[in-house]
Subunit: 686 residues, 2 copies
């Protein structure tokens, strides 16, 4: 596909074209849409769709679809919740779930939903706070100011405030969200239907998944009111029609420097890919060991496989010389413009060189940082809890601005939810993943490295993992609560083996983090900020910022593409799903769908492809028509789009969604979820 890029390179390079763009709501290119489609969203339209959009803090998108707090998202976004609500005797992941009444809706222990209510440009304030600083001082100053701004904004647990970096540091905004932590499951189909086709069909199209779930946000023991919501469209969406996607693309690197992209290609992605593929091999084999192992592992395995496939696609995009050749041209063009302007030349002096140098520093440091601090050496929920408890005891007594980011006041509701949630922690899986990661720790850093020696002593990874997991009492929320409330004294007195381990490695892990933050992160941030400011000075803010898991609006059309000279149609049907059923996983339709043959017309559209520019994080985004009414639900993109991290290619990149008509038809005729169907219909405009 990247053969295309070369031809399109210069056209695409400097300004957004066609459907490209993940636009912030305050800078949506309504005029461009009008020129292309004869329709421009008004400010009222934009406000309504923005307030109807929802972010799931764990990394997904969603939307309000009724005034009673009903939220639509993907099944794969709340797969963890369905698993948490399951047990060996009640396997909701396998059977699906329909709450007959609101009171039967089940609380998801780990889910937080956010609604973006306010955006403020605070670039001037942030720049003032870091004026003249560089290196570690710049980073510290930036984080301290973030903590201050966020703390002042977050007036209660129901308010979430994030300082948001846009344009690689060219702009800083303060995003204020309404926060919901009582989020309940109203509807989930069977896992085999939500991810029909499994890993083989993931990122493929034509596609036949029903990756749908409904949640409801509650407040004070009642369904919350959501006056701003997206009503269900009365008209089904057709090929060629203009559609918008409102959601939270997780991250792109379209403005990254060539040095950063080469680092991704040569160092960061290979490291992560190797870790994930070995983990995948282990988890697949582990899950085949018993039905209970399968039950507790399949959601995790699916996430690992999804990540692996996505990152492999990214690596392949970067490994094709034509993409980097385009990026080199873009960078050279920017640098030529910058050099020609004495002010910009001065403000960016040495910036690109500093980026390259910081990455040279990072290269040998990355495995150590990832292993000791970033989780790769301790893949265990219990260890994560233990580390949080140890660090909370250390950090919370400090002044807000001096704490590690995740312990600042504005983050406390998230931290408390994470520490005090009632969710099962499957023991065998914990042992397996911890043993796996301790083994990786030893082989990555070496058996004789002091940190490794401190962790393992004379133990073998598998035996140590078992002793730690079975010996820890942190599975009990009361134990965690006591340690959280008991503070430093309680944590230091604890003899829980996982707490003891977290204590033992904390100084070295913090040191690895500090080395990384001071010598890599700080330099990259400061240099990129200088480059980004120059970019804005040269090209202005007519472009869109790289994705940062903040709310964006994209526009496009329902449209197929050409694959090796053959047309791929944009819509699939129920008939296609029935035809793809082989009876063998992952191509086995659940009984509910087999039974629905005859009840749902076979030509009913099921999934669709659109040209909207999206990326991971957009999962669960509503697709709306020009009325702002729901016509679909994003759940994936096609294989070509895996390169969208670095560039959008209009010819082949496609978003993949459940079609609104098929979504509703299955809800009604496959799942008999009449209450939800009526709620959606009642919410439609007269």
């Amino acid at each position: 596909m990247y053969r295309l890029l070369l031809a399109l390179g210069l056209l695409l390079s400097l300004s957004a074209r066609a459907e490209e763009g993940m636009w912030t709501y305050d800078a949506f290119p309504s005029e461009a849409v009008k020129r292309a489609y004869g329709f421009a969203p008004t400010q009222a339209w934009l406000n309504q769709v923005r307030l109807g959009s929802v972010r799931l803090a764990g990394g997904c998108s969603a939307s309000f679809v009724s005034p009673q707090g009903l939220v639509m998202t993907n099944h794969h976004c709340i797969r963890g919740c369905v698993e948490d609500l399951s047990s060996p005797r009640k396997d909701l992941l396998a059977t699906g779930f329909v709450a007959p009444e609101p009171k039967d809706e089940l609380r998801c222990p780990k889910v937080e939903a956010n609604q973006l209510v306010e955006m403020t440009d605070i670039t001037a304030r942030m720049n003032a706070a870091t004026q003249g600083l560089s290196g570690a001082a710049f980073n510290t100053g930036l984080k301290a100011e973030m903590a201050k701004v966020e703390a002042a904004c977050a007036t209660g647990p129901e308010v979430r405030c994030d300082v948001v970096t846009l344009f690689n540091g060219g702009k800083y905004h303060l995003y204020k969200y309404r926060r919901f932590q009582d989020v309940r499951l109203a509807f989930a189909p069977e896992f085999p239907m939500a991810s029909f086709g499994g890993d083989p069909d993931n990122f493929n199209f034509p596609r036949y998944g029903y990756d749908v779930a409904f949640l409801r946000v509650w407040e004070n023991g009642q369904p919350a009111q959501s006056p701003h919501y997206l009503p269900w469209a009365k008209q089904s969406v057709k090929e060629g029609e203009l559609v918008f996607v409102s959601g939270h693309p997780g991250g792109t690197e379209r403005k990254s420097s060539v040095a950063e992209l080469e680092f991704q290609r040569d160092v960061a992605l290979p490291y992560t890919l190797l870790h994930l593929s070995e983990l995948r091999g282990m988890l697949r084999e582990f899950s085949s060991g018993s039905p209970e192992r399968l039950r507790t592992t399949r959601a995790r395995l699916r996430s690992v496989e999804n990540g692996l496939k996505a990152l492999r696609g990214r690596h392949q995009a970067l490994a094709d010389p034509s993409l980097l050749s385009l990026k080199r041209k873009e960078e050279a063009a920017l640098r030529a413009r910058v050099t020609a302007n004495p002010k910009l030349k001065a403000s960016t002096a040495g910036a690109w060189e500093e980026v390259a140098k910081a990455l040279q520093v990072y290269r040998p440091m990355l495995p150590e940082y990832r292993m000791k601090e970033a989780g790769d050496g301790f893949q265990s929920e219990l260890f994560t809890l233990a580390r949080h408890l140890v660090r909370a005891a250390e950090e919370l007594p400090k002044p807000n601005a001096e704490r590690l980011r995740e312990y600042t006041d504005a983050q406390l509701p998230t931290l408390r939810q994470q520490l005090l949630r009632e969710a099962p922690i499957p023991e065998e899986l914990e042992v397996a993943t911890l043993a796996f990661s301790l083994n990786r720790l030893r082989e990555t850093l070496g058996a004789d490295e002091p940190f490794v020696q401190a962790v393992l002593g004379r133990e073998a990874p598998a035996e140590l993992a078992r002793a730690l997991v079975t010996g820890s009492k942190l599975r009990d929320v009361k134990v965690r609560q006591a340690l959280l409330e008991g503070g430093k004294a309680a944590v230091e007195a604890s003899e829980d083996p996982m707490v003891v381990l977290a204590r033992k490695v904390d100084a070295a892990a913090r040191a690895a983090r500090k080395r990384y933050e001071d010598t890599v992160e700080a330099v990259l941030k400061r240099s990129n900020e200088r480059i980004a400011q120059a970019h804005l000075a040269v090209y202005g803010t007519t472009g869109y910022p790289d994705a940062t898991f903040t709310l964006r609006l994209s526009y496009g059309a329902v449209k197929g593409w050409e694959e090796n000279g053959r047309a791929v149609a944009p819509l699939t049907t129920f008939a296609g799903a029935w035809a793809r059923h082989t009876g063998k996983e992952p191509f086995r339709l659940p009984d509910s769908w087999l039974a629905a043959q005859g009840k749902v017309p076979q030509e009913t559209p099921l999934d669709m492809a659109t040209t909207n520019d999206i990326i991971g994080g957009n999962s669960g985004s509503p697709v709306v028509n020009r009325d702002g009414h729901v016509v679909g639900l994003i759940f994936d993109s096609n294989l070509h789009s895996l390169g969208a991290r670095y560039a959008y290619v209009p010819q082949t990149h496609r978003a993949v969604a459940v079609h609104g008509a098929g979504l509703l038809a299955a809800l009604e005729h496959v799942y008999a979820a009449q209450r939800l169907v009526e709620e959606l219909r009642a919410a439609q405009p007269r």
Copy 2:
């Protein structure tokens, strides 16, 4: 470590220096050795050491160490044989094996040993055969001529003849070997001792492995005579002493073009690394399922882990910009010299561009080629046997020069041994690896690809793998013999499910091979031959050719190195092994070694590091002193040396060997292998 390279770059770039070099015996730089060490091997010395050297056709090196056909190599080189000779009730891999008498030696079903008796330069003949040819015609002409030359040379099954490509096609030699297919196991230590430290210590040093095995070649029911052998040195080797390593380095890419190295970094190595790491994760978890699974999997797992670690090291070497920057300079220097010479300019016109273009063609083709033809989609011994039977039936009736390489007359003894050997094929492991690879096949090529559809139909990989493995009768040698001898009629009539599968996919697999050979391999070979000829014209043959699993001699010294400012001593001792014992795998010494404390002086040297330039394939190579007497046994190299595929760095690259003194001491005092010790002593010169 590659920081060093940059500084050394220009010095190292154009001529071999210091201990660098894997020299062919007909061009050993005796004068350089004399200048450095005051000793030069004579022609008689070279002949003796060459004839004392042995190649194990499966991919290792070895040596004759007595006149009665006694062969020394590494345990890891014959781990497969020890496993083949084991059963659930007699686990030789766990217990080790000492044959009390020659008659108790056990035949290794898969091992072939070769002794290089003659080398002939046939460059002129090969060039004449391909004169004026290019592309597929060049490749076909080259292979046909190889088949002709080899067939004429191989006068019986005891003669093996290989046309050997040297200097990337700049030279062609005919290597004539004495072939031994009756190879028997005389001694093997316990697997946990042979690979003490396991994967964590692999490629590490200081090291404490006893990776030793003794075989014996037999002829006509008697131990074979081996008048040319390497006697055991009477003097133990010391730090700083000159030593030679005679063995078969498998492959290097030191003369490869930059385009080829970038292809390795971006495409080939990532593909293989991901495959291996997932396989590793699967096998580790699989092997933990039961003692029998562990018994049948540990050798395979160890090989996979070794390959993974080696390839990861290669990738890291290529991912460091300083190595490629050195290679770019070397290539630019050669091209400048070539351009300045009208004749060379004409003879290399377009050669580098053709290499780059062939790799662009290969890029999208590689996964298909690897999956359909090169084994990645069908990781199963039974499938490999089935494919050989199907293809032998098709190929053998053709004229010799028109057959696929592996079915030419000169290859028949190897093929027959492979098809007719009596070796167990563990069923559960077969099912697991075949299911793994079928799954990889589907995900790599896509669920809807016609080849995948033909293989899987409506089956799931795991179920299909089980049906194929349990349904096949190819485990029975008699069944295979009948199919081999029955030819095309028998193979076409076979209803064995594995044969049916091999038949079904053969046309498509052959087509993928032909596409690769005609459009990639042929172009690369021809262009590289032209570049290589120009290289020889410019720089002469004073250098050494890239390694090609042919016999080479390297020289160096017993020597440590500096690691982060700390000196690493070149010798380890028995005391070190006892200290490293934790009682937990892979740091658990077997009882025999624990019991030997007190019997062997603790300061006895166990392993050692030398500066010899070696690479994978050199495993099992004898280390000899200036008398040509054995002072050690190569079994590994250090982590730095993983980059030796592309360049040798004298400061840090080290070969790792079992020290001759420790080898003999353990044989005598740990294993009481008195008969072998006496045989070695009796063979020492008076």
